[in-house]
Amino acid sequence: MTHDPVRFYQVGSFAAGNRLLDQGQRTEQSRRGRSNSLTSGHRACQGCGEALGARYALDAAMRATDGRLVAANATGCLEVFSTPYPETSWQIPWLHSLFGNAPAVATGMAAALEVKGRTDVRVVAQAGDGGTVDIGFGCLSGMFERNDDVLFICYDNEAYMNTGVQRSGATPPAARTATTEAVGPEPGNEFGQGKDLPRIAIAHGIPYVATATVAELHDLERKVERAMSIRGARYLHVLVPCPLGWASASSDTIRLARLACESGLFPLFEAENGEVVDVTKIRRQVPVEDYLKLQGRYRHLFGDPGRPDLVRQIQKVADRNIERFGLVATGAEQEVR
């Protein structure tokens, strides 16, 4: 599969409608025959990033596998909102077992396919950040380490949304959740905690690891396709803003996903066999405030008196990412763009 990077130079938004692109460059979502793996009628909140991310990711995986796909799903919002009594939104074979075992269930599916010689059918497993970095982490690490033929997709909304917004190991510092309330001298989630799962996945040396967001849907689809072109354990970590848990406007979901990248808080990259092979440069760097201020979960950092000290600490996190991944284009690189 070849891939031409798509560059957009429209006013302000950095986004372009599919109409402006060549057929071959359009997203899977613009294709009439797309599979609608997660079809309409589900019960996600307005502006749910997870619903959007899952729809794009699975439809791209369906295209890549010619519709020969089965999915394992952990407990969480995606599972609950997609299978409301007495309906399902899934148009692919889909199994929900438990909260903490999706990677292992997927391994079982892959093992059965292998025994039966069914090389045509592929397996994806999906979970929220809690199902991935916390309760499912043991099973996930095992799946990675054995290099089982599974694509695991984490939809990271940075907390346990399904149970009412409690902290997970992916909750960023200072964010308010129901178990890290904005009270006391250190309001919100603590600094110096949390798990960087994409980098942990890379450390397993698995064939493919990538991060993506719902702001860059071409990029998300492309990474899914790349993942499906490889056998073995693959990991895709998608940032999916959650209007309910982030206390943000439903209409800001895409904007927030973009600002997360452009501030440096959420680096976009790909890694193969333990090495980072590609990094998406920040096109126009923004201070973390631009991202934080749109979210009620950081409300306590702003206003009077606010906590500028904590905002500075968050900026340091972004700066560290920018340095670690080389996120800001050097002068020479910028010219090419």
Binding site: P86, G100, T163, A178, E181, G184
Partner: protein, 429 residues
């Protein structure tokens, strides 16, 4: 102080009054409001000194509690349903080690099919683990039982589980008398561990025990539960003296005198049953109600005493041993062996199925008439079951049962609209 307060908040306040030193929990509905409120107590500094640990799973939550308790800290956690099962290995371990951890279980059904609503399958699944299990009838009970739980746990060096019905109690907003700190401090002295990891006096905890002593270790666990059986009523009396209201104890009785029929149950359904019993008395049919507050250790003698004058006992329970019988009913039957009393089991309220007053009344009428079978299921939709059995006969690949039933209900009610709320299953017919 008398307050109109959510059950979960009230329990969190009560736990705070007991001054736990390490609180560790993993969120799961319907327990979340409890731990969120305890979290705020800690983070705001109101509960101090106390460390609130957000962990990555229930297995870790119980394991952190084990470590903290063995270090001599008063440890508290809470969970429900899948969470209790996820920590099962550590639940047995805490009891085996004899660590006085207190845990709230916000009772909820177990999946699959996933279901967040109330029944007692979760608590029942660990009834043999060696924990004391107390069941709250009201939110006042839940508050009072937690205070007694810490005292009992630490006196006997045994873990104690306080069970309260998920949503029905945890999310109910009602009046609760919250005791003041002095009264709780007077009732609950600081934790004096029986065993502790201490560099000045090193002990090994958790050694391998082979066939030569394992039976004795287990027997002692049983003996300690029997001690609890003796101690629980004493603590209840002391509690009543200190706080001015009755709570805890082994069993409660309501209008059993002169009742030929007695209904036995656990938890919040007792309230609805008492109302139904009153209406039976009004109709000239005397029916008594016995609540089992302490389910483990099982108070066989107290239960037998409470129902000894009855001719029929009906056990209403929110769980059962699939392929066998009612669980509480089994214990009650054993307690009454030798007496000429018939015991029937009625399974009710599974996965949040509402137990309506009318259904309770109907059940008591049947019980009083002696027409209940040994095991029955309240408000079971037999037609729905029959249709699925037919599908299974007609077709090998009949598909997943849960989904088939849902589709069936959806088409029967014809609404095409899902109102996922407890009661809708039954309300549809």
């Amino acid at each position: 102080m008398l307050r109109q307060i959510e059950g979960s908040r009230a329990v969190a306040e009560a736990v705070g009054l007991c001054r736990p030193e390490v609180v560790c929990a993993y969120p799961i509905s319907p327990q979340t409001h409890i731990i969120e409120a305890v979290g705020v107590l800690v983070k705001s500094g109101r509960l101090h000194p106390c460390k609130f640990v957000n962990v990555e799973s229930e297995f870790a939550a119980m394991s952190v509690s084990i470590g903290a308790s063995a270090m001599g800290a008063r440890a508290y956690t809470a969970t429900a349903s899948q969470g209790l099962l996820f920590m099962t290995e550590a639940v047995y371990n805490a009891a085996g080690l004899g660590l006085p951890i207190v845990m709230t279980v916000a009772n909820r059904a177990i999946g699959a099919p996933i279901n967040i609503w109330n029944d007692h399958s979760d608590a029942m699944s660990v009834r043999d683990a060696g924990w004391v299990q107390l069941f709250a009838e009201t939110n006042q009970d839940a508050v009072d039982l937690h205070i007694q739980a810490f005292r009992l746990a630490e006196e006997l060096s045994l873990p104690v589980m306080v069970c309260m019905d998920g949503f029905v109690l945890t999310h109910a907003f009602e009046r609760v008398e919250l005791p003041d700190q002095e009264a709780v401090d007077a009732f609950l002295p600081p934790f004096e561990p029986r065993q502790v990891l201490d560099p000045d006096n090193p002990v090994s905890i958790g050694a391998m025990v082979g066939p030569e002593a394992f039976t004795e270790v287990r027997y002692l666990a049983h003996a300690r539960q029997l001690q609890a059986l003796a101690r629980i009523p004493e603590l209840a009396e002391e509690f009543e003296a200190g706080f001015g209201r009755a709570a805890g104890g082994l069993v409660t009785t309501y209008r059993t005198e002169g009742a030929e029929t007695v209904v036995v149950a656990l938890g919040s359904v007792l309230g609805t049953l008492k109302d139904a019993a009153d209406s039976m008395w009004d109709a000239g049919v005397p029916v008594g109600v016995v609540g089992v507050t302490t389910f483990r250790p099982f108070p066989a003698a107290a239960v037998a005493r409470a129902v000894s004058a009855a001719r029929r006992v009906v056990v209403v329970e929110k769980a059962f041993s699939i392929g066998a019988h009612g669980i509480l009913a089994g214990d009650v039957t054993l307690a009454l062996s030798g007496l000429d009393i018939r015991v029937d089991a009625v399974v009710a309220g599974l996965g949040g199925r509402p137990i309506s007053e009318a259904s309770c009344r109907g059940l008591l009428e049947e019980a009083a008439a002696g027409s209940l079978p040994a095991l029955s299921f309240l408000d079971l939709d037999t037609h729905l079951v029959a249709r699925e059995l037919e599908r299974m006969v007609a077709q090998r690949r009949s598909g997943p049962v849960a989904e088939n039933l849902l589709r069936d209900i959806g088409s029967v009610s014809g609404s095409g609209l899902a109102v996922a709320r407890p009661g809708s299953q039954k309300g549809a017919r």
